[in-house]
Amino acid sequence: MIDRNTSVTEDELHVYVDGELPADRREAVEAWLASHPDDAARIASWRAQAEAIRARYGATIHERVPDRLTLSRIIRTRRSWGAVAAAAAVAAFVIGGAAGWLARGVSAAAPNSVELFTSDALVAHKLYIGEVRHPIEVKAEENHLLPWLSRRVGTTLRAPDLGAFDLKLLGGRLLPGVSGPAALFMYEGASGERFTIYCTKLNAARTAFRYDAEDNVGAVHWIEGSYGWVISGPKDKDKLKAVASAAYDQLEKRIPSPSQGAAGQLISRRGS
């Protein structure tokens, strides 16, 4: 029954080490190992690896399970406001502080490009609105602002005219984005409040306006035609939505700018 002369394959060695070898073959493998020290050494090293792995992580099983992972807690959370959101809020730290706060409502184990792009926009907004001397890279008055950003972002960009909200375009800058370069336009109001419009290419489904807020910053974002847009400003939902609607109308529906102000003329002739 047992053929001691049959050579033993490497597969069989693994099966042997993992205790899955049928009894009638085990003896043959052991005989083989006795006369093949190299294979015996390999098997010893695999066993040592398994031991090291168990030594390193095995004790986890004896730890007390944290409260948030008990089933009753998870069921309760789910009933109250959706455990996915809870998980996301907690797990947001996985990605690092920057990408976190917009992740609500989506499983945190898999932050998607929409979460990443909105958090990118907010991080940029918060960083640059505080700049006194260098809030932008290129001023609105410079003719190459839109052609340059359009070329880098890959679409014909326009900076909406937000004169109706007393917001004046300061200029823009180029930033790294989720799946390529991103453009950030900055606007300033009469009392110094600043809004930004962020745009980058995004392979995600079209969405309606979504509003999010944290601390004293609010943001409305939407996705259309493979591009994601985020408008950020002081936390004022109604105003942000109004600004976003006006911007959307000009950007997506190609409605001519309401006034022929500086921003309205800045229509790129380049890009594709």
Binding site: E10, D11, H14, V15, D18, E20, R42, S45, W46, Q49, A50, A52, I53, R54, A55, R56, Y57, G58, T60, I61, H62, E63, V65, P66, R68, L69, T70, L71, I74, I75, R78, A83, V84, A87, V90, A91, F93, V94, I95, G96, S107, A108, A109, A110, P111, N112, S113, L116, V178, S179
Partner: protein, 163 residues
Amino acid sequence: MGTFHQDVEAAIPALRRYARALTRDAETADDLVQDSLVRALRSEHLFHGGDVRSWLYTILTNLNRNRLRSHARRPMLMPLEDNDAPDASGPEAGGRDIERALALLVDEQRTALLLVVLEGLSYREVAEVQGVPIGTVMSRLARARMQIKTYLDGERPALRRIK
């Protein structure tokens, strides 16, 4: 119903162990377990008998793969290795070595190896969790073991000598 919840509850400590080894980070691991549990409860109606534990391993494995995919774009944050630390021969040395060796593996290989040696799943169960034939599980195991051996045998001592 009751038994389903009991079975899930009973599997949590092992899920945490598996997640800890998969991610090598306690916080990330528990987040992953939490997401897996939420997912499991939400899809309870999709569970038609069988081994709850294997089913949970499958969910966690998939979530972890998604997590790694979405992170692939971003630089991974790895702890800085302190080569001068006196851990080269200390009791922690082996643990750190195996941790680094695991970190070098391709996700599928690491998953297969951990499910077998840490979680004690059979090849057949691992094949189901990973959704591949048993032969694929075996080649993943073989490659994982070979890579860890190469790392532990060679690279690490060489690195240690460099100051």
